[in-house]
Symmetry: C2
Subunit: 136 residues, 2 copies
Amino acid sequence: MERQDLRDAGLKVTSPRLKVLGILEKSEERHLSAEGIYRLLLESGEELGLATVYRVLTQFEQAGLVSRHNFEGGTAVFELTDKAHHDHMVCLETGAVVEFCDERIEQIQRDIADRYGYTLEDHSLVLYVKPKRKPS
Amino acid sequence: MERQDLRDAGLKVTSPRLKVLGILEKSEERHLSAEGIYRLLLESGEELGLATVYRVLTQFEQAGLVSRHNFEGGTAVFELTDKAHHDHMVCLETGAVVEFCDERIEQIQRDIADRYGYTLEDHSLVLYVKPKRKPS
DNA sequence: ATGTATGCAAAACATTTGCACCTGG
DNA sequence: CCAGGTGCAAATGTTTTGCATACAT
């Protein structure tokens, strides 16, 4: 029950927070912008302010409930952090987002940070791709 | 001689363009924001508009002379594209930027895109790290 | 009750653009 | 000369913030 997730994060269980969580869970598009979440909610008849969506998303991010990504194009997108770690592939033609995970890359990243005297805290890997052309 | 790089890109050799190129070449900090480049130029007594810096950087990017990166924090940074391909490691404590390249990762990325039916066009990999704690 | 959350409008940023004026080739 | 470049100010798009009101506990 998500209400508990909110309490665990020290956040009151409020209507806007439940609505935003709800959209992130139910929408078929896993990766949504603040504006996108806002519009989906308005369209389904819910009332709330865009500023609140931003505030709620920022709090969720700090609580680890959602992850924020800055793909190309100025607008951040958010997704639930309920799945295992993964990276993203963005199709430059369709905008489709594919999630993938490769343990080899994860390991190499840790090695590289270590080699330079650092500890890996986080990373961002995005592949920008185009559909493979079928041989005609 | 950089003037030729500009001509090759179909760009007139103008004073603002030479100034921006000059800063990118001479500054000890390889990764600069538009605002940063602008301020460095003003400080060294050069006159030019911030809007021009943005325009020039965008043109340079399209010409392949500079690369734009979106590290965390809303502000894009630019660097000369005169070196071989590399990725970046950003220290969360000092802001230091370390460049690295790992051919294994490059290869795995191509494989992954291919496995999903795509061709890799570009990618963005940034490691966020902290200095390793010395054992006390 | 009371400390938080919210909504709205305004502010803050980074970046882009319209337009009249300049300039390189 | 003239297409293209520049400066300035205004516009844009995204995200944040101040403040008065409303709500969860």
